[in-house]
Symmetry: C2
Subunit: 241 residues, 2 copies
DNA sequence: ACTTTAGGTGTAATTCATACACTTATTATA
DNA sequence: TATAATAAGTGTATGAATTACACCTAAAGT
């Protein structure tokens, strides 16, 4: 069923940089390896061009769906991931970014709670795999450039909006949260100052629960109060770290 | 010369929100009207859909040009504007944003020095016109939404990067610069604190010149030192206002 | 000469960010 | 069961940055 147009049209695709945060197993890691790792989800291409190489999940935008819908659909189809934080990143349109055809891609980035999705991702017997951001394989097309832009955006965003909870389990400790910030921002933060700041934002709820099964004093668990966050955001409150 | 594809493809366009800053004539303006006005450049459509309405300058992306090139080409063709600050804004891809066909647009925003371009724009006998941002006519398509996003972006950008010089003449006074910030940010700033901050950034060069033909003490003129700005930016310097 | 207009300048008070160290609770182990 | 090991949890003093604020100066107009 071919489609004919008066003028040539570029292909239009969406691609997703999916970030996840993995807690490294204590046994396995060496003493100075970080306890958390930022990872992204890649798909092994089984079609040319770049067959056999790794690429961002994505695909063609259909005429009956919006860009956001296309990004969510591709994410669901290729990785089984649904209902995650997803935001448009940037559009990449260099003429030769695909060696064969003109393809313009609208890139998105997503934040995935790996505590929730790890199981599911494993069961979807697919060619998808999580890679530590510091050990990515060579990527197809200009996807390394897209990943670079996405990392910068994630850093910038995290500095100004409390977005990190998307990457953590529902109940988390302040230390986990701090490690998340340190991992993404690639900087060490002062424990007391971090806690002061984040608790002062008044968007965390201290639960009547503590960590289980830890070989030391158990930390209190918190959850993110999204409702309160929206109210404060409404009022122009500043969430800078 | 028709083009045939296996699958339907959305149209792909670029649109530009072109910002300019106009100094209002003293005689004409009422006492409490602001001395500077932020304006955007619109084109009157002479084809359906939305024939006769005003729209952002823009047009189809050709297969042999990048998105950035397309934006600059359209700007040149439709408004005669060249070599201005131009940055990608966001891509808009709702299914029905064009009532007749599926069109995805990559929006850009541009900053134009009206002291330099006013004459030129006048000579290009075209259907382009500058409108004060507070008195825009009804816009075609979803262009009002694009303008809203562009205004937010301009505000955000101006707060964190010394981008405002693009809107001013090469030589300007500190008061002009302050008015620019006040106009774009829609906020009053303290004169002494503003000067302290902007001069401390060390990106302005005080010239040995003062304003001419003013009916009061003439203000010193400054210019933006782009070279120094790049060096400081390199080092991660913070330009927040 | 006087009025009008905008230019130009410094300091004190307050707020915010930073640096920093010890006690507590829990489990593991000797 | 005492002790070691581990991370949790907590407050203050110092310095830096931001804010608020008012008067004199220079030039042209009347």
């Amino acid at each position: 069923m071919p489609y004919t147009y008066e003028f040539a049209r570029p292909n239009l695709t969406v691609d997703c940089v999916v970030f996840g945060l993995e807690e490294e197993n204590y046994r396995k890691r060496s003493p100075d390896e970080p306890p958390l790792q930022l990872k992204i989800l890649l798909i092994e291409r089984n079609l040319p061009p770049f067959k056999g190489e790794w690429a961002l999940p994505g695909g063609f935008v259909r005429v009956e769906e919006s860009l956001d819908q296309a990004a969510r659909r591709e994410l669901r189809e290729e990785t089984g991931i649904e209902e995650v934080f997803l935001e448009q990143l940037y559009s990449f349109g260099e003429v030769n970014r695909d060696p064969r055809e003109r393809v313009v891609t609208v890139a998105y980035y997503a934040l995935v709670n790996l505590w929730k999705y790890r199981l599911q991702a494993a069961t979807d017997a697919s060619d998808a795999r999580w890679f530590p951001i510091s050990q990515l394989p060579p990527l197809a097309f200009d996807h390394d450039q897209i990943v670079t832009v996405a990392r910068q955006r994630l850093q910038g965003k995290l500095r100004y909006e409390p977005i990190g909870f998307e990457l953590l389990p529902e109940k988390f400790t302040l230390t986990q949260l701090q490690r998340l910030y340190e991992t993404v921002l690639a900087a060490e933060l002062d424990k007391r100052n971090f806690r002061k700041k984040i608790l002062n934002m008044d968007i965390l709820v201290a639960l009547d629960e503590v960590q289980q099964d830890v070989a030391h004093r158990a930390a209190r668990l918190y959850r993110f109060d999204e409702e309160k966050y929206r109210q404060l955001k409404e009022k122009g409150f500043n969430f800078q770290i």
